[in-house]
């Protein structure tokens, strides 16, 4: 119980490392995480695509009380990020003073350490976002 799994994150590699999402060819909307049908219109006529990782912060919060495995990273800034491909994701924003995050800020994806499982020694990496350097 409560241990990280190697097969699980191997299975999820396209999503957690490459931001795989779905694009609906019927209604034109994108969504994340990928699923077999469009959550907006129910169509199965979907493409699996990969995001370029550029987006804008729509809303954010600074979290001070995290669950057990994330306490080394506190406080964590979580943003509701709208990717340029049109879908939203809630993910950490890093390399920034929490006080200087603002709505409308451009951000880009960066591969970072997400957590370390103390009991197995497994280190999980994933996509976080940092202020855009372009």
């Amino acid at each position: 119980m409560f241990k990280d799994s190697v097969p699980k994150y191997w299975r999820l590699r396209d999503v957690v490392y490459r931001l795989k999402y779905i694009y609906c060819r019927d209604c034109g909307k994108s969504s994340f995480p990928p699923r077999s049908k469009c959550p907006y219109c129910g169509s199965s006529n979907i493409d699996h695509r990969y995001s370029k990782g550029n987006g804008v912060v729509e809303e954010y919060t600074v979290m001070y009380q995290s669950e057990a495995r994330y306490q080394d990273y506190q406080p964590i800034v979580f943003g509701v990020i709208r990717l340029d491909e049109g879908f939203r994701i809630v993910a950490p924003i890093v390399d920034v003073d929490p006080n200087s995050v603002e709505e409308g800020m451009r951000v880009e994806a960066t591969l970072r350490r997400v957590r370390v499982d103390g009991s197995t020694g497994l280190i999980q990496y994933g996509i976080k976002f940092r202020p855009s350097r372009r």
């Binding site: 954010y60 600074v62 990273y73 979580f78």
Partner: protein, 385 residues
């Protein structure tokens, strides 16, 4: 013949950090409370439904319904466990309604139980965070509180409220819970108490979140063969259940809960009561913004108007809400909560002590959800007289 399900009795333990009691002990105590409140009914349940969200994690117990029935000395009964996250309690009550109405059961005991405080706080938060989509949001450590904070900011900005405006909810919940014998938090807040309350996820503070506490509550739903007739007889007149896209940020509007609206409308449409006869509501306020969004989603008030429309006597457009103190102050032992909520509505309709100061109520309902409106359940009760 279609049976009219009756709530024959209710019992519970005061929600608290019960370090000395297991989930089984809590369930036994709640049943003792039921038996002492309703001395003249013969329970004789043929079915036991246990609602619990995390018995595997918090109590290292699978098949909890069977173990519990055994310790309650019930043999030869049907046992089921219902799990729908933190809405497990009302999901279980809805299942009991269905069993009675179908005629399959004549008397069903619903026990909502949760042992929440078995581990340190950060572990409890981890277990609670499993209500999020684990593979994606859970991966980043997004807690339900962080999600509620994001929704609070969207709500405040859209409708022009400040944090101080929203603080009205926890302030009033603490105030009303002081008279509830089952409430975990029985102290009042001051106008400025939030200033000293630690921020959990900006702008939400500890005062904006339910307290971690253990609890068990039970009701007997019967076909009328077992019922306490000394006071008003209370029937389940309607039930509703509805689901939505789990992630609110994927929905078209994150701060209006369609599942709450739909489950509410289903229950009202099913019941033989008029909408304006529903004068009491126990709603799911795990975090401050959810109380306001739930009131708007149930249509008690137009969108964005609940904060300014809520009166200090806890009425909104003539309907009482959460006189119990709600999840915020009565407490929220996850899978047990829906059963506590039905118990509060039951006690309000019977005009029990805590509810004597308000006019007699004919019909009332409970609303219990998982996460920010990912799934929502409604149970509508009315007096039979």
């Amino acid at each position: 013949m279609i049976q009219q399900p009756i709530v024959a009795g209710f019992g519970a333990v005061r929600i608290d950090r019960h370090f000395g009691m297991s989930s089984i002990d809590l369930a036994v105590e709640s049943l003792k409370d039921l038996e002492s409140r309703h001395t003249d009914i013969d329970l004789a349940p043929d079915t036991v439904i246990v609602s619990s969200m995390h018995p595997e994690i918090m109590q290292e117990q699978s098949g909890i319904a069977g173990v519990m029935a055994d310790y309650l000395d019930l043999k030869g009964v049907r046992v089921y466990r219902v799990e729908s996250g933190e809405a497990s309690g009302l999901a279980a009550v809805n299942m009991a309604y269905t069993l009675i109405r179908s005629g399959l059961s004549r008397s069903t005991l619903v026990i909502g139980v949760e042992k929440v405080t078995e581990y340190p706080t950060s572990m409890i938060t981890r277990a609670y965070s499993l209500i999020e989509d684990s593979d994606y949001k859970g991966f980043y450590g997004v807690t339900p509180a962080a999600e509620a904070a994001l929704l609070a900011k969207i709500y405040m900005k859209r409708y022009g409220y400040s944090y101080q405006d929203l603080y009205k909810w926890p302030y009033l919940m603490h105030s009303t819970a002081t008279t509830n014998p089952y409430a975990q938090l029985k102290f009042r807040l001051k106008d400025t108490s939030y200033e000293k309350s630690p921020i959990i996820s900006d702008p939400l503070r500890l005062v904006d979140m339910f307290p971690y506490g253990d609890g068990a509550a039970c009701i007997v739903v019967s076909d009328g063969s077992a019922v306490d007739k000394r006071d008003a007889v209370i029937a389940i007149a309607g039930v509703g259940a509805s689901s939505d896209i789990v992630d609110p940020f994927v929905r078209s509007d994150p701060v209006f809960f369609d599942a709450v609206k739909n489950s509410f409308n289903q229950a009202v449409a099913m019941a033989d009561v008029n909408r304006d006869q529903i004068k009491y509501i126990e709603l799911h306020d795990s975090f401050t913004p959810y109380a306001y969004i739930a009131m708007e989603s149930m249509g008690l008030v137009e969108r964005g108007a609940s904060v300014r429309s809520l009166s200090d006597d806890l009425t909104i457009n003539g309907t009482y809400v959460n006189l119990s103190g709600g999840l915020k102050a009565r407490g929220h032992p996850w899978g047990a909560t829906g059963v506590y909520q039905v118990g509060e509505v039951f006690r309000a309709l019977r005009g029990e002590e805590q509810y004597r100061s308000i006019d007699p109520i004919y019909a009332g309902l409970a609303q219990n959800m998982n996460g920010p409106g990912a799934q929502s359940y409604t149970t509508l009760l009315r007096r039979v007289d």
